[in-house]
């Protein structure tokens, strides 16, 4: 169980059958371990009742339900030409302050909005609303990450045609969000200089899932004796070639570079044919 929060089930999720094949087999005495060889294909794609005392082979991704919803969202975002950025990091790495500054800078010419996830309080939504952009707070209660259906619910009454750019500020957590696709175009991982140079090595799964990395709070690198080059090198070690932007949302360092990156990614999406 997630040790960050011990989060539980949310009611009302529909079941999803996804894509799978049934193959009936004659394994009466199934041993106590896994056999990849059970996966051989048979010709009888019988979707009827499985016989008792049989092994039912199923090919199904466990998070298929979320993946399907994320794909649906991605399709809607593509149709309406909305560029979507999922921001992931530890709690306190500076996601909200960077977003507040970014949204304020972009608001004059980019139609930007944000949804922000937290277990409790509307504080982040209040801070982001200062940019003048539409903002929704997702209160996750005990959940330690956002899932696609929570994003879909949060934006259900927004007209996507009125937006160019949507930020999704995930719940601060370096573990749980990695496996949950939200339909985003870009997953951005923040690491603050205060978190230590080895953070990407400690959390390789999230690092590997990121498209871009932001090193935040570089104004604090010197007082906390963070070697920013080493931190950037560790990001590149886990995720070779990842684009890294060094920022201080407080002082303003790197913010223009970060905004240029967003603009160029948005242009690239706008130029790409809609599938």
């Amino acid at each position: 169980m997630c040790t960050d929060c011990g989060c539980g089930e949310r009611p009302g999720d529909p079941h999803d059958h996804g894509d799978h094949d049934h193959h009936e087999h004659d394994h009466h005495d199934h041993p106590e371990h896994d056999h990849p060889e059970h996966d051989h294909d048979h010709d009888h794609h019988d979707r009827g009742r499985p016989d008792p005392d049989r092994t039912l082979t199923i090919r199904r991704r466990i998070l298929q339900h979320n993946d399907d919803l994320a794909a649906q969202l991605r399709g809607e975002f593509a149709r309406e030409q909305v560029f979507v950025v999922n921001m992931v990091s530890s709690p306190g790495s500076g996601k909200t302050e960077l977003l507040r500054r970014t949204m304020t800078a972009l608001a004059p010419d980019v139609r930007v909005a944000a949804v922000t996830g937290d277990l409790a309080t509307e504080n982040d939504a209040d801070r982001l609303s200062a940019s003048g952009a539409p903002v929704r707070q997702i209160l996750t209660g005990t959940m330690c990450h956002l899932e696609a259906d929570m994003v879909a619910d949060a934006i259900a009454d927004w007209n996507l045609a009125d937006l160019d750019l949507l930020f999704i500020e995930n719940v601060g957590n370096m573990v749980c969000p990695s496996g949950f696709d939200l339909g985003e175009d870009l997953r951005v991982m923040l690491v603050a200089t205060t978190e230590g140079e080895d953070k990407p090595l400690k959390y390789p799964t999230l690092t590997l899932s990121a498209d871009v990395a932001v090193i935040s709070k570089i104004d604090l690198a010197e007082p906390v004796e963070c070697d920013v080059d080493l931190l950037a090198g560790n990001l590149d070690e886990v995720r070779p070639g990842i684009e890294v932007v060094r920022t201080s949302a407080k002082r303003g360092d790197g913010v223009d570079e970060w905004i240029d990156l967003l603009r160029s990614r948005m242009s690239a999406k706008a130029a790409a044919p809609v599938s």
């Binding site: 499985p50 991704r61 466990i62 998070l63 339900h65 959940m143 749980c176």
Partner: protein, 123 residues
């Protein structure tokens, strides 16, 4: 990651799958594949499993068999496949090239379930 949610998703998927047979069948074991890149900790999932299935008519007594899958990288420049014992870098361990493809290790899949007639006791 979020192992209780994962356990609940497994339960939901299988209960939907077996819905029409729930009165006749009971599951003895559920088999899943968990890759080292999936973000799921097998021990934590094993811990969450009994809580996720406790009141399930079909799965309530099912064992969870977890097949752990190591990361395998195929390096394009040197055309070698390497198995990573731990995930610290996505470079080829032989030539250090970052030009690799993950050919195994990102699995988070249900692979099968062992069923028996409800009228019969556990085997």
């Amino acid at each position: 990651m979020h192992e209780l949610t994962v356990a609940i998703q497994i339960r939901r998927a299988l209960e939907a799958e077996l819905e029409s047979d729930a009165e006749q069948l009971v599951a003895d074991a559920v088999r899943i594949q968990v890759g080292a890149l999936s973000g799921v900790v097998p021990e934590a999932l094993q811990f969450a499993w009994p809580h996720a299935i406790a009141d399930s008519p079909v799965l309530g007594s099912a064992r969870l068999d977890i097949d752990r899958i190591d990361v395998q990288l195929h390096c394009r420049p040197c055309d070698q496949v390497s198995v990573l014992s731990e995930v610290v870098s996505m470079r080829c361990p032989i030539c250090r090239s970052p030009d690799v493809e993950v050919i195994a290790g990102d699995e988070l899949d249900i692979s099968g379930v062992d069923l028996r007639d409800r009228a019969r006791g556990p085997t």
